[in-house]
């Protein structure tokens, strides 16, 4: 249900609806901590929402789904939370996620495994799986997620909703628990593109407290959404229809691209020869930055601290052994390895250079096109437990999302149909700071397919009562 519809309900009924929908979906395990007395300060966006649990909030716990921060309440608040509350939005809870946002299925949460509302047997994607599942189930009209290598777009794709990763530096990360600082971004999950534009409108802009935000004017994202995209140049990322892509997913995405083609755009195939290195580059840069950022969790100033220890070194090693889950340990160790003496040149410095090559590929393509389209994920949502035994297989779920992460460009995943009875996402990428064009194309596709049969299936998920 759209934000505007939720607003018509009024504050009281909207909050009642949140908990009624949550009851309908008991066992979905999307939310870690609730605020049952949330209130609106009044404003344009006076609806309930969920924030991913890696965003600092004053009232609820902020754990990043890690045992090391169990029960932790932040003494300060993230800029996005403050801005949303000033716009009237009511934060009703903190959503489940992969621990410290590392994972592609939300199975790495230390607390619970979120299920996909389309089918409880499959994952909602990750790492922002709780936010995606809750929006898809209609528990809230929107939720915040964070995207480092695909953590908004991939769960949006798996849950059949809209997920927007804005340009690096468009939205302040102040109060976002740092994971990989050169990649982390905050963005919304919504049911419609217009809603994503409305949320972005509120959270975008320069923030003195995040030195990576830029002083670039925030345009009116909503007013440009008129369905008219005649003359826009669309590039099809042929390299993204890669080996290993599910054939039904490919078919659905190609059909979606045909629909866009029918809207008066100029379409051409584009080549991004280094995009295939996005994943390797990601799995060097991300763990390296993680190993530095997560060194603050040492059992000294806050968070879990091991008991019965004799030395300071033991406090660190044991607190982290007890507090971190397996995937977090793996990444911290991988980062420590690639940054260690003798290896830094071969891994981290090399990856930074390959990252520039990926960026240059995009720059070159964007000389001739306005947006690039591709699948968001090579597959639909996979089964719970299917990939947990093989971390590298899990990493490969990010194959098509990491290139945009590397290039700092905005990208959105919008639902474009079903394959094997589960949602498929279309990824649209644009130039840095050109969210306006990105949203315009996404919105035009959404309007052109408003009556599609699969959208009715999606809408059914959000009805109160009935079988689920």
């Amino acid at each position: 249900m759209r934000i505007a519809k939720w607003q018509e309900l009024g504050e009281k009924s909207a909050l009642e609806r949140v908990f009624a929908m949550n009851d309908k979906y008991s066992g979905l395990d999307a939310v870690l901590d609730w605020d049952k007395d949330a209130k609106s300060a009044g404003g344009d966006l006076s609806v309930p929402y969920l924030a991913k649990d890696n965003m600092a909030t004053l009232k609820l716990t902020t754990t990043a789904a890690s045992k090391i921060l169990e029960g932790f309440v932040s003494p300060y608040e993230a800029t996005v939370i403050r801005k949303l509350s000033e716009a009237g939005a009511m934060m009703v809870g903190k959503s489940n996620m992969d621990e410290f946002a590392m994972g592609s299925s939300t199975e790495n949460s230390a607390y619970m495994v979120t299920k996909n509302p389309w089918n409880r047997e499959v994952v909602p994607g990750g790492s922002s799986g709780g936010s995606a599942a809750a929006v898809a189930a209609g528990i809230v009209p929107f939720a915040l997620g964070s995207d480092t290598g695909g953590s908004i777009r991939q769960p949006a794709s798996f849950c059949g909703i809209v997920g927007l990763m804005p340009t690096y530096g468009r939205v302040s990360r102040y109060g976002l628990l740092a994971m990989a600082s050169s990649l982390d971004r905050i963005g919304p999950f919504t049911n419609t593109v217009e809603d994503a534009a409305r949320v972005l409108q509120v959270i975008a802009g320069r923030d003195e407290r995040d030195a990576t935000t830029l002083d670039i004017e925030v345009p009116d994202y909503v007013s440009g959404l008129n369905g008219d995209i005649k003359g826009i140049k669309v590039g099809v990322a042929t390299d993204f229809f890669c080996e290993g892509i599910d054939l039904e997913v490919e078919k659905v995405v190609r059909e979606a691209i045909e629909v866009i083609n029918g809207l008066g755009v100029t379409q051409s195939d584009v080549k991004l020869p280094h995009a295939k290195y996005g994943l390797s580059t990601y799995y060097i840069i991300q763990p390296a930055e993680v190993s530095a950022n997560l060194s603050r969790y040492d059992g000294i100033r806050y968070g879990h601290s091991a008991q019965d220890v004799d030395s300071l070194a033991e406090v660190y090693a044991k607190s982290r052994a007890e507090g971190f889950g397996p995937e977090t340990k793996r990444r911290v160790m991988l980062g420590a390895y690639t940054l260690s003496a003798g290896f830094r040149d071969a891994y981290y410095d090399k990856a930074l250079k390959v990252r520039q090559l990926i960026k240059q590929d995009f720059d070159k393509v964007f000389e001739n096109v306005d947006v690039i389209v591709s699948p968001t994920s090579p597959t639909v949502a996979f089964k719970v437990g299917e990939k947990t035994a093989d971390p590298l297989e899990m990493y490969k779920a990010d194959l098509l999302t990491t290139p945009a992460s590397m290039a700092g460009i905005p990208a959105i995943s919008i639902p474009c149909g079903l394959a094997h009875g589960l949602p498929v996402g279309l990824q649209i990428m644009a130039k840095q700071f050109d969210e306006a064009t990105l949203l315009k194309v996404a919105d035009a596709y959404e309007k052109a397919t408003a009556d599609a049969e699969w959208r009715k299936t999606a809408a059914k998920l959000q009805e109160l009562g009935g079988e689920q």
């Binding site: 793996r330 911290v332 003496a341 891994y347």
Partner: protein
């Protein structure tokens, strides 16, 4: 001395394309996993050491594909992806909005105005 990882030079050899696929398709040696765990300040169980040896070598073998990418002439000195440089803050003292008590109360142990830690140096 633990600056360089155990078997560092063997690994360098591994990274050359000739040896890559036969020499490195195996678990990381145990002492290397222990060395990385020490750098990462994480105590591992025996089971974890064995599991991470497999997981880490699989991932390292995969990311090693970058060794074949030609990056000559690429300048990554400013790796800030939006090209932002020297975004500095005014050098002025600002009062912290968070009180001392709020910090201290979150620490596992404190005494007076100080956070308590284990002894670092012996007399």
């Amino acid at each position: 001395m633990d600056t360089f990882c155990p078997h560092f030079f063997d690994l360098l050899l591994c990274r050359s394309s000739f040896f890559r696929y036969n020499a490195c398709d195996m678990k990381l040696p145990r002492e290397q996993v222990e060395w990385v765990a020490k750098l990462a300040q994480i105590e591992l169980t025996e089971e974890e050491k064995s599991q991470f040896a497999t997981d880490l070598s699989n991932t390292i073998t995969y990311i090693d594909e970058l060794s074949a990418v030609d990056v000559s002439g690429v300048n990554a000195d400013n790796s800030q992806i939006t090209g932002l440089t020297n975004n500095t803050e005014a050098d002025e003292i600002r009062r912290c909005e968070i009180s001392k008590a709020e910090f201290l109360n979150r620490a596992p142990a404190h005494q007076g105005d100080y956070i308590l830690v284990k002894k670092v140096l012996d007399k």
